[in-house]
């Protein structure tokens, strides 16, 4: 799929992207390389895999990583209970070799996401989410799959991919990933969206919400993220939840009271709440235009200058 077609498909999926992201995705697709996406929590890494599945018209197979994740949860497991039952039932059979062979056939194989993704007849999008949470051993185990699109099962042998999935790995950089894994992937780093993109996302995802409110929410979120004292920066999903909650409460303007009552949607710990109290009015744009630019819901003045990358009225 070329760059322009991919852009078209992402437009159809109602996804807001920039040129860099589209190019990286197109390159990864073209080279057939897994894509490693890094960035802070909540910048929309997982969403990319979902959008790619929609854009490529493929199923999404998701593997959520966690500490202690191993082959039996990620790749395959033998159905031990069924195998034991089969042994009991066929205890008196003459052909013991045949019984052993049958015990390690597809009938007793429980496919987990990785195996499922390469044994699927139709290519899928495989999302390996939060790979940094898995152990290093699991990372090493993934190398065979990522470079050769095959897996080795001791009892069966090497299984080659029936279809090649588009693999997306995401990481919050909680720990450094191995060089070997990185080398096998194309790389994308995502940052929090700037004002303009955030507003575009709000408008695209919540078309029914008042435009002025969206602008105020975007300014407030940008201000919170730029404050170094905030420990957990608001994610895009939280921004959307917040705007939707404000809209549901019938709020048309983000007043300090409305902000205080709904702050729990964007800030998730008491330290950050204290910082918010100290910050004063976060709905004010920090561009020095005295609160008169369109993006924080002030009056529409047509003074036509730019402020921090977003457009003024």
């Amino acid at each position: 799929m070329d760059l322009n077609t991919l852009k078209l498909k992402m437009d159809q999926a109602n996804y807001i992207y920039d040129d860099t992201m589209a190019t990286v995705l197109a390159v990864a697709l073209q080279l057939g390389r897994p894509l490693l996406i890094e960035g802070a929590a909540g910048v929309g890494k997982t969403e990319i895999a979902k959008v790619m599945a929609a854009a490529l018209d493929r199923d999404l197979v998701r593997l959520q990583c966690y500490e202690g994740l191993d082959e039996s949860k990620a790749l395959y497991e033998w159905n031990y209970q069924k195998q034991l039952l089969s042994i009991q039932v066929n205890m008196n059979t003459q052909d013991k070799d045949e019984l052993t062979r049958s015990l390690f056939s597809d009938e007793y194989l429980l496919e987990r996401p990785l195996l499922q993704s390469i044994r699927s007849e139709r290519p899928v999008v495989l999302l390996i989410d939060e790979i940094d949470k898995a152990d290093e051993e699991f990372e090493a185990f993934l190398l065979e799959l990522l470079s050769d699109m095959q897996v080795s099962i001791p009892e069966v042998g090497t299984l080659k991919a029936k279809s090649v999935p588009f693999v997306v790995l995401t990481s919050n950089r909680a720990r450094p990933l191995s060089e070997a894994l990185r080398r096998r992937c194309a790389y994308l780093y995502i940052q929090y969206p700037d004002m303009e993109k955030e507003l575009a996302i709000l408008r695209a995802k919540l078309p029914h919400v008042d435009d002025q409110l969206c602008a105020q929410v975007a300014v407030a979120v940008q201000n919170l993220r730029s404050n170094e004292a905030i420990l957990k920066k608001p994610s895009i999903a939280e921004t959307l939840d917040w705007a939707a909650a404000l809209d549901a409460l019938g709020v048309r303007e983000l007043t300090p009271d409305a902000l205080r009552q709904t702050a729990g949607f964007i800030l998730k710990n008491s330290e950050d709440m204290d910082v918010l109290e100290e910050m004063g009015d976060i709905t004010q744009c920090q561009c020095g235009c005295g609160g008169e630019c369109e993006n924080h819901g002030g009056h529409h003045h047509h003074h036509g200058h730019n402020c921090g990358g977003h457009h003024h009225g």
Binding site: E67, A174, C185, L188
Partner: protein, 424 residues
């Protein structure tokens, strides 16, 4: 970007350049880059840059290095034309200045004999320095007539000093350049450059990484720690769960023998922050050692008790109370004291871990004391917060690294990797 052939040829040179900057670029990456250039074309420079970045750079840090080198390597026609124009203009200026300088610098009415390099240095001096030099020449004009050689020699030495100063400045610049990109996460940033506000976050990261390393090490120890002897009792017990079939065999465990750790920790002004983090890290890795002793030093050495290392405030207060805060560094003295301790602090079962940037007074003495410590301890490892790429500029680092293995750990990420190595 006009001709595809030119850029495809350039790719292999570019790969080589990136490799020399520490990026792991294999022939596969160059091949991918070539494929992608053919597919995308070369008309849009930004598109090419993004595509190649995707192929070559595998982390945010590598992206920053890539961007720097791409812009310098694949110069756009516009920039190239501008650079050529600027260079031509600069050369014309230098030629003009050099001609004027010839008239300015005269001895006994004759132009001074200067080589091209010296003339260029004079052309590059600011007006104040030039004036000083001219005043000096005026003042000693008479002696120039009496001892022309001596005078000439002195003037040349002034030029040589100026050239040397410029070289040193260039070297300092190479040592001092530090990327300070706020986008780079705490894990990959220079520890000594953390702001106060970032410290709680950094501590949280240390805790989570050390927990992870501990878990990894304990699972490794579980797997590797078994001896070949079968544990019948446990195997039979486990077999009961699967109706008497011995589905998984259980083995007897080997007793692990961990080493004693002696930490010699530089708490001089420049090292304070790094030492705090490194100590915290090592203390939390319960698989690294059986027991550990911590010695803090700047100009003097003190043994720290476990209580004073519990948290950052206690640690800072302890260092201040000891009277070693804000002082210089005398590594030789600290090592000599450590070597001479009775009962001995260092033995064949000890790993001596030195946390220091190698900057110390009396370097020769320190190297000798380090050699002595190496003879006494079973293993000596140096954790150096200075990034490895700068080591070749610093003589003390080279001297110490020739005695014992040195690991660079300027960031939390490299520190974590170094601490993990300690456990093996």
């Amino acid at each position: 970007m006009a001709d595809a052939g030119v850029y495809l040829e350039k790719l292999s040179t570019f790969s080589k350049l990136l490799r020399s900057e520490g990026l792991s670029v294999s022939p596969k990456e160059t091949e991918d880059a070539a494929r992608i250039l053919i597919a995308l074309g070369l008309d849009d420079r930004e598109l090419v840059k993004t595509a190649l970045r995707t192929v070559y750079a595998k982390s945010r840090e590598e992206q920053l290095i890539f961007d720097k080198f791409f812009d310098g390597f694949f110069v756009s026609e516009e920039v190239m034309r501008k650079l050529v124009e600027e260079e031509m203009k600069r050369e014309a200026e230098v030629r003009q200045n050099m001609q004027n300088d010839q008239d300015e610098l005269q001895i006994n009415g004759k132009p001074m004999e200067l080589d091209d390099e010296q003339r260029e240095v004079y052309a590059g001096m600011d007006e104040e320095e030039r004036q000083k030099l001219r005043q000096f020449m005026d003042k000693y004009k008479d002696s120039a007539q009496r001892h022309p050689q001596l005078y000439d020699g002195f003037i040349h030495s002034v030029f040589m000093r100026s050239i040397l100063e410029q070289q040193m400045m260039a070297e300092d610049a190479a040592v001092g350049i530090e990327e300070s990109d706020p986008e780079i996460g705490l894990l990959y940033r220079d520890i000594s450059k953390f702001k106060d506000i970032e410290i709680p976050k950094a501590i949280a990261i240390i805790q989570s990484i050390s927990q992870q390393i501990n878990r990894e090490l304990s699972s490794k120890a579980q797997k590797a720690g078994r001896s070949s002897a079968l544990d019948f009792r446990k195997t039979i017990r486990k077999g009961l769960e699967t109706g008497g079939s011995f589905y998984r065999l259980k083995y007897k465990k080997k007793r692990s023998r961990r080493r004693q750790l002696v930490l010699l920790c530089d708490v001089s002004w420049s090292m304070m922050q790094f030492s705090e983090f490194a100590l915290r890290f090592i203390q939390q890795l319960n698989h690294v050692s059986e027991s550990s002793r911590v010695f803090l030093f700047s100009e003097e050495m003190h043994e720290a008790d476990a209580f004073s290392l519990q948290n950052m405030d206690l640690f800072r207060n302890y260092v201040k109370e000891c009277g070693i805060y804000g002082k210089g560094t005398d590594l030789g003295k600290a090592l000599a004291e450590l070597n001479a301790m009775n009962p001995p602090a260092l033995s064949a079962a000890t790993t001596l871990l030195i946390l220091s940037d190698t900057k110390t007074v009396n370097q020769n003495f320190a190297v000798e004391a380090l050699k002595d410590a190496k003879r006494k301890a079973g293993r000596v490892i140096w954790l150096n917060p200075i990034p490895e790429r700068k080591w070749r500029f610093i003589r003390s680092v080279q001297a110490m690294a020739s005695v014992c293995p040195m690991i660079s750990c300027s960031t939390l990420s490299t520190l974590a990797a170094a601490c993990k190595r300690l456990a093996y």
